[in-house]
């Protein structure tokens, strides 16, 4: 990867980290968006769309509720797309998925680190406001955003560098085995089916809507014939 590509990847890492929970939560950090963004930066838009969709399906069931800890799905999609952009991803699918999931865990750790640091900052803010410093919350927010951007950029660049360095090490092992693009597509669709089942089928109305979706999509697929998957 060239220096501009590494820098753009760092900027994307910062964006993904901040959007995930500290600022906005506009879902730029979801894999379905972060993957194509990374693909565009690395000159592999199709890989970005595909792996973004795969990791969106994998992390569909993870809820960012309250103080829960959860993997960083956006960072996973970034690292997965970086590995995919360096060669034939279907030829090293297991490795790609493994390093992307590891990056997701790293993202969980960096988020917890940032939140603990924020705890010390928040305690200081209270003291300064009590002393009459009304600008303290604003400065604390600016500092936390800057720190988050640095953490996100470092996590993206570091985990992508490790993932690319390890690519040669797994050659000839099952980790580098070809899973096939179609098989991966089917496995990811299966993940969507299972996540939707977990979330939405508890009530009778949900099961009826599920049946309706099945029948309508099945009918449309039959009507469209062999044009699928192109």
């Amino acid at each position: 990867m060239s220096l501009p590509e590494w820098l753009l990847l760092g900027a994307l890492g910062a964006l993904v980290f901040l959007d995930a929970w500290p600022v906005g939560q506009t879902m730029l950090s979801r894999p379905i968006v972060a993957g194509p963004l990374a693909g565009a930066v690395l000159g592999a838009p199709a890989e970005g769309v595909f792996w973004g969709a795969v990791f969106e399906a994998v992390y569909l069931g993870v809820l960012p509720v309250g103080a829960a800890r959860y993997p960083d799905a956006g960072l996973a999609a970034l690292v997965g797309t970086v590995v995919a952009s360096r060669g034939d991803a279907a030829e090293s699918a297991a490795y790609l998925v493994a390093v992307a999931l590891a990056a997701g865990l790293l993202g969980d750790w960096t988020s917890a680190f940032q939140r603990r640091w924020n705890g010390r900052v928040a305690a200081g803010v209270r003291g300064r406001v009590a002393a009459g410093d009304l600008g303290a919350p604003g400065r604390a927010i600016a500092a936390a955003v800057a720190r988050g951007a640095l953490i996100g950029a470092a996590a993206a660049i570091g985990s992508a560098a490790v993932a690319l360095a390890g690519l040669e090490l797994v050659e000839g092992t099952v980790w580098a085995g070809p899973a096939g693009r179609e098989a991966l597509r089917l496995a990811a669709l299966a993940a969507v089916v299972v996540s939707a089942g977990r979330f939405f089928l508890e009530r009778r109305s949900g099961r009826l809507a599920w049946m309706a979706g099945l029948v309508v999509a099945g009918g449309l697929a039959s009507w469209a014939g062999g044009g699928m998957g192109s």
Binding site: T26, V33, L63, L101, G104, V129, L186, V193, V194
Partner: protein, 263 residues
Amino acid sequence: MTGVPRSGPGERRMVALRSLFLQAVWNYETLQGVGFAWALLPGLRRLHPDPRKRAERLLAQLELFNSNPYLSTIAMGVVLRLEHEVARGVAGAEVRVGRLVGVLRGTLGALGDELFWAGWRPALGGAAATAALLGGGVWTACAYWLFYNALTQAVRLRGVTAGYASGAGIARVLQDPFWRRAAAATRLGGAAVGGAALALGIALGLSGGGGRGVGIFLGSVALLGLAARPLGSGGRRLSPALAFLALVILLSALTQASAGTSP
């Protein structure tokens, strides 16, 4: 409300924009407290010209706060309205602000989690992922992003005004059937996406590898479904990500084995 200037649309827009940073200093002690207090500052500046009084009221808002980020602006609007009473010197107003914020924390959090985190986001994400996996291009990501934010950011922007207009009567707004219906609608949409993904997976399997493709798809559904079931008496679940990794390794091994036996 005589003597104290009322909140204008510009101020409420500014509060809504500041709410984008609600979680910037999220921490395990006061959760969203710092972001919540900072978002309210434009209103506090108007209501409390005396810096000492403003610092006192800012400090009161720096306490623990946690809510769904998109709905938090409703609480901000309510606080702005009640702070008006504090500025006018109404007896007991300060206590009422703290008590109401405490109630709103839980209510808005539960509403938002059901509507956005467990409804709108997975339903839309499932639809976008399915479309992208079936060959949809970059437009799926754009559509996902636009649709998601059309609802969430609209709620965020209107929340301050809704909360300000209702004040202490916000309970009536939150009990409106609209919220329950909206959450139910997202759940139905998500369920329909799940059914559609099953049908489309089978169709894709048939068009790609015939019986083998359908076998891979249904086998994957069965394996991931089994992995999602609670394990043992503790009810723990295997991580969906780990289950997916195991599935990809299995698919790789099967592909290698079949390539090895091919002539």
